[in-house]
Symmetry: C2
Subunit: 239 residues, 2 copies
């Protein structure tokens, strides 16, 4: 029978996780400061940080830079096989969505855009960057590349809402299929700042290529989700 020593940092992790689980620490509530935890548990602050970072990596808590640690809200269900918009999906789950336009520009297609969307190198491409919030908390930064040939003047339209709807109503474009890829990746400086997290923080990186009824690639999205936000959920029928 092996002697089972539980590291202090995992004990603190467990202790805090229990409070979160039993509801004594509610979503978005602030945790005691690192120094307070250090005193309360009589362990070193580095050990406290280890526990906090463990909980963070599990998605149970999140940090605001130099402003404390907070309990994460429940994950948002997201079904990639359904075409519900961010706004509608969030609302359907009793949460409050919000969208902030970070920038909208017409740029010259880079090598990457060329390879990804087939737009001729140097030709114009629209880049829309948005931040999405749930209950006031930034959870997603989107980089949306759109082919202007298929929807000229798009950037002059209101862009806080569902782009899919806009493409349909204003341009008669129906998205017939999408190709989605996702994996965990780090946030670089810019997106990290826009999500108010530390550079290098983990995100769920999701790309979505959207094709119209003629199988033209209309839109290529890069989505940088905070890693603690989503629970992917889907039903697959075998035919």
């Amino acid at each position: 029978m092996k002697y089972l020593h539980i590291p202090y940092y995992l004990r603190l992790r467990d202790s805090l996780a229990k409070k979160i689980e039993d509801g004594s620490l509610l979503p978005h509530s602030k945790l005691p400061s690192e120094r307070d935890l250090k005193d309360a548990y009589d362990i070193n602050r580095v050990t406290v940080r280890q526990a906090l970072m463990q909980l963070e990596s599990e998605g149970l808590i999140y940090r605001l830079i130099r402003r404390g640690w907070y309990v994460s809200p429940p994950r948002l269900f997201y079904d990639p096989t359904q075409s519900i918009s961010f706004m509608d999906n969030v609302r359907a789950q009793g949460r409050v969505p919000e969208t902030v336009i970070l920038s909208k520009t017409e740029m010259a297609a880079s090598d990457w855009v060329n390879r990804t969307m087939g737009i001729t190198l140097g030709d114009p491409v629209y880049l829309l960057r948005r931040r999405r919030l749930i209950d006031g908390r930034a959870v997603l930064v989107e980089h949306i590349n759109v082919n202007p040939v298929l929807c000229p003047g798009l950037l002059d339209l209101p862009l806080e809402c569902s782009l899919t709807e806009t493409l349909k109503e204003q341009y008669g474009i129906e998205i017939s299929r999408t190709v989605i890829n996702m994996y965990p990746a780090p946030l670089d400086g810019t997106q990290a700042e826009e999500l108010q997290v530390v550079a290098g923080a983990p995100c769920l990186y999701l790309t979505r290529a959207s094709y119209d009824q003629h199988d033209n690639i209309v839109e290529f999205d890069q989505e940088f989700w905070r890693h603690d936000v989503l629970e992917i959920s889907m039903e697959v029928k075998n035919t």
Copy 2:
């Protein structure tokens, strides 16, 4: 113009990431020891560990407990909307799969099994636990719960292969639909050990409920994937 100081740990991260990217550090190759890196870069070992853990969280490297740090292989594409088996999927991507049966038992249905699969509390349920490896590296631990009423004697059959195939060939069971959920979670002691990672290490936790042609729930899988293994990929057609 703000002065941009890059933390030492991120500099080391970047330096190592570059070597991985440009191919001078190949998949599964061993990195220099922490103490060697400390000396080579003239920084503290804790700072080295911070860099290594950053790379680990990004999925670029993995650790073997007390045996060093290694470069991660490329991610495996996994399409949850297709019903290809682990073995076939891995092979199709030029990798070598392997399966190890950890245990197979007939147990009494717990509260959780009752809620999840509708099996009466205390009634028998098969639990099959397997470890899956890619190129000799453990990447997944599966807990597969199966309803014995629908496939009596299953545990006496060879279980290294695709369970879906076995259910079909031996019992005439066709999986008509599956419900899949996935989110990042920590590995607890047992699964961590079975994957040879530290307790609390992040995994992609995936559940799959499989229903037969009569909409009976036949099987409920819990899958604990190392977090650095998969790239989820899918094509969705809008009908």
